[in-house]
Symmetry: D2
Subunit: 334 residues, 4 copies
């Protein structure tokens, strides 16, 4: 940690800061410049409150020089983490394709889609049971019943299932779920993260709408600090000033997260764009940037003759896309 002192600081306050640091076994290496004095702090600074020091009258600025996350940090764990999910793996060079509908609606719906996406090469099945909805008047998902239907589709196809948890109290329903998803809006629901840290089941952690890379990694750290190292990171678009798409997919997150951390990184182009026509180019871009896989909404809708969901691909479009994705993945990893 580096402390930049103001010019002509009050000597008494300076002495107080010095003793306060020394009590905490922090050594001070001063650099005296023409306009400014800098203190380099040596020792375990991870427990120092940077804001506390920054607030002192004699201090101009404080800068941290070490990442505040450890378990998720590639510096301390150089090798890629590979997360096992049933007989498939996430990370380490394999291509993960998670596909399925936005919401689980019926046994027939979920089983049909599951079979279709499996045939196209999906490695896991996704489907919303507990649905976070902006409006209290919108359909909130089939909840427990949705998970029961996912389990049936899992039995039928053998695909591991991924679904979202919204509150720790729902955990009882998740016994048969293979990967528990934490949604963007819950990325900093720290009480939930702590509970998930006590499990050993894989957690798919989605980046919050305005979360920095460091904050996403700190949320992963919450889970890992509890002992659960099976964390899969997921970029799903951040909020910007552009309103043409629902969010702006941050493809740079892929190489950056893989550089800073050893955890696998997936991308969800469906939620990022909110428009199904943008899903294929964005999915290809994510893999070209080095993502370990994708989560894609696929919807088969024989009931409503009307239309697909706004961000969902039809199974035949997914089938073609999956082929393209395998080719790109191969090319990037050759």
């Amino acid at each position: 940690m580096i402390v930049i002192l103001k010019k002509n600081p009050d000597q008494q306050q300076l002495d107080r800061l010095r003793s306060w640091l020394e009590e905490r076994h922090i050594a001070i290496h001063p650099t005296v410049g023409v306009n400014q004095t800098i203190w380099g702090l040596v020792g375990d600074t991870s427990h120092l409150d940077i804001n506390l020091i920054a607030s002192l009258d004699i201090v101009d600025d404080v800068k941290r020089v070490q990442e505040p996350y450890k378990n998720a940090n590639r510096k301390f764990h150089p090798a890629d983490t590979v997360v096992k999910v049933g007989s498939t793996t996430v990370g380490g060079g394999s291509l993960t394709l998670i596909a399925g509908p936005c919401s689980v609606e019926s046994e027939e719906q979920i089983c049909t889609i599951a079979q279709q996406v499996k045939a196209s090469g999906a490695t896991m099945l996704r489907g919303g049971a507990f649905k976070p909805r902006t409006s209290p008047y919108s359909f909130q998902g089939l909840r427990n019943e949705g998970i029961r239907l996912l389990s049936i589709a899992k039995k039928v196809t053998g695909l591991p299932i991924v679904t979202e948890i919204m509150d720790a109290s729902q955990l009882d329903c998740f016994d048969d779920v293979d990967v528990i998803q934490v949604g963007a809006r819950n990325m900093q629901n720290f009480e939930l993260l702590k509970v998930l840290g006590e499990l050993r089941k894989p957690i798919l952690l989605k980046r919050g709408l305005s979360a920095t890379y460091e904050e996403l990694l700190m949320s992963a750290e919450y889970i890992m600090a509890g002992g659960n190292e099976n964390v899969i990171l997921c970029e799903r678009g951040v909020r910007t000033f552009e309103t043409y798409t629902r969010n702006t997919m941050d493809v740079t997150a892929v190489p950056v997260l893989k550089q800073l951390s050893h955890l696998p990184v997936l991308v969800d182009p469906s939620h990022a764009a909110g428009k199904y026509k943008l899903v294929p180019p964005l999915a290809k871009a994510a893999l070209a940037a080095g993502a370990d896989g994708l989560i894609i909404e696929v919807h088969n809708d024989p009931e409503h003759a009307l239309c697909d969901g706004p961000q969902s691909l039809r199974p035949e479009v997914f089938d073609k896309l999956a082929g393209d994705l395998r080719a790109i993945h191969e090319l990037v990893h050759r």
Copy 2:
């Protein structure tokens, strides 16, 4: 709702959309332009999924013309909501000053501050017991014990107490709490909002770091849909590209929220700025813009000889500020 059709739409798909809408008792008023045909939809469109329609091949765009919130909407409730908290009120022309430390640390600390801020004119006491912290390695608050200490300070001073809940499972500890705060990171923790909607206790709902005005009001709607009409909105800074301050206080939120909704609006300048020197000018700005009050961190720290919290005022600074704030409030409401 308005549906903008593509030029030369497929007739069969058009007929399907028409029947689908008519099944839902929606009348269609077409406007045929040179380059585009627009359908005005008349009827109860609040249950139509705007994204679903937008995803159709024949549709160029869909625009909602009504706000999706009802209980929180000033159009349907023109008069200001006034929330009663103990013997004080929030909204309706009174000035609410909530003050107290970032974290409750000890009985002596919280009682001393409570007495000081009361003497300066604070109408409620705040203090963190359950603390949402970005890092799992940071102090997570005194939790239950913190609330017990707040209760003591309440008994001593008579000030109603405000503190944050992080998970519905903590609710048992909140019996003696007068106003339950929902933090910015939990603004879209919908399961928590539903539980709070079943109470009749005032809820202080903080705006999320990248939440729109409409999303904040939809989260208020979640609570109100459950029957709890005692919702107090709170602006606490949004995330922008500027890094000099922790967040950017959006003072425009004050007149806009008061125009769109009948709920009271408070502002938290301490968390928005993250630098205590900015608190006085921002607090004054918030009141000048018409806010119903403020939440301000005040810290009295005889133990650590070192320093105040980075965003906390000393009691004597708060005392002076409170005087200025009363003058501005009077001037705005004269």
Copy 3:
């Protein structure tokens, strides 16, 4: 255009708006709903000031249903524009690779790099002569002399040259320049755009740091309205809250701009990321998303023994990357 009226509007104001519109040969198609009346406006609404109407007391909101750009709009020009630059072309399925140093420094430097990037497959040479710098104390480029050196490199290699203009008064120096670049900070320098519209030379128009897709296309429209149809769009990163990278490359801009407009779309991953290690994954992502090509900084630095520029690749890294890029481009266009 759609006008959403307030409930119970003042009849006199309503009549005034009606006559004002009728004077402008706009027909009104009303849709009367339960809570709101909507007017669909039919006629040439492109000259109506949307903000003017929105400001009326009787109006709740106004929504445009047509894009405000015409020349740049794919709706009116379905076929891809292909821009000819010397013997090469931009758009229409070819792969454009523009490479070269951040700044032109000397004849030897620019000629060496030009030969190297040509050997690796670059189709044009870039190099900064007039340099927009945030600080008045930073090196402002070799200016006229820089363009003279670029011309020499052009003669030596046959590569067309691309360089940035900062002010219309510099135009005299650009006679030998093949593509004139408008930088992100000048995207809305409308006086400059007007002057460039009078030329017939290709213009490479970079997206502003916080410009929407529509604003970028409106700036293209400025140039095209003057008669210059040779506009090449360029995504170079937008400003977000993330500070790890200089800007956030918006890969979604690629498919969206190609859908909305017939103009070619390039991407500049070097400036977006600001870190050369991120350039290869981002360059691949851009092509996978369908970009017509890339602008990449390549720096050969035998003079300063020290280092490359922060966002520049070494020629040997560019050489390897160019091969990967050709493979991705082929795969996307197969």
Copy 4:
């Protein structure tokens, strides 16, 4: 400047960096920590390219500890700058009220408004002659003729006039203009800033839509580096994800800019909000936060019976507001 080295850096590269710095007369003060070595650089680091050093393989990060602006920096000029404009002044405790229409339309219009706003207490007259418009099809202002009409209004009322320049080539028309405005879109039009730096006339510099505080001050520095110290800063809203208002007025800019710099700070609430009903609360908030004054659009429109501009106040509303503003200003400065 602080250089944070990677763990186990290559010794040869380290030596090269050391000699490179020493050649530039920079002394190195190392701080050796457990996981990292930090170099504090002492000497004139203002000419070192921070990005260049950051790009080295052996470097983890580089942090600047000094602001890159000097002339605009309060550290080197503690006293407030007071800019003289005719017989009035900007800064130093006086209240500046600049009012007038968005665009100059006719002699009658501008003279009538000028007299009205003068009667209400405005200290300067504003009016757009050269208009930056997003669309090439929108009215581009009366240009030279507009400035001629402003001059007439100046003669009639004695009010100094403020109007925007869009290109250095227009400077000839600005002889009678008292304050030259640089619009948000031109804040980083460095060629224009350089030309304005050669004048001694006051420059009103508006903050760009996504400019940081530091970037605004660096643009002021461009003007001041040329010798023109009469720079007035102006906050006019930044771009965020919120679409209800045109931009988001950043009221925090006021106390921060006044702390970092000695230059006067004005606020333009009309352009920030884009909705005239929001102008009064935002104007009051800006003054309460310590702004030296405001620029407000006032529109008197007897010709178009229809309506005011969307962001313009009527003279009678401005008159009432001006009274409130004087009261707030007095209260803040008492």
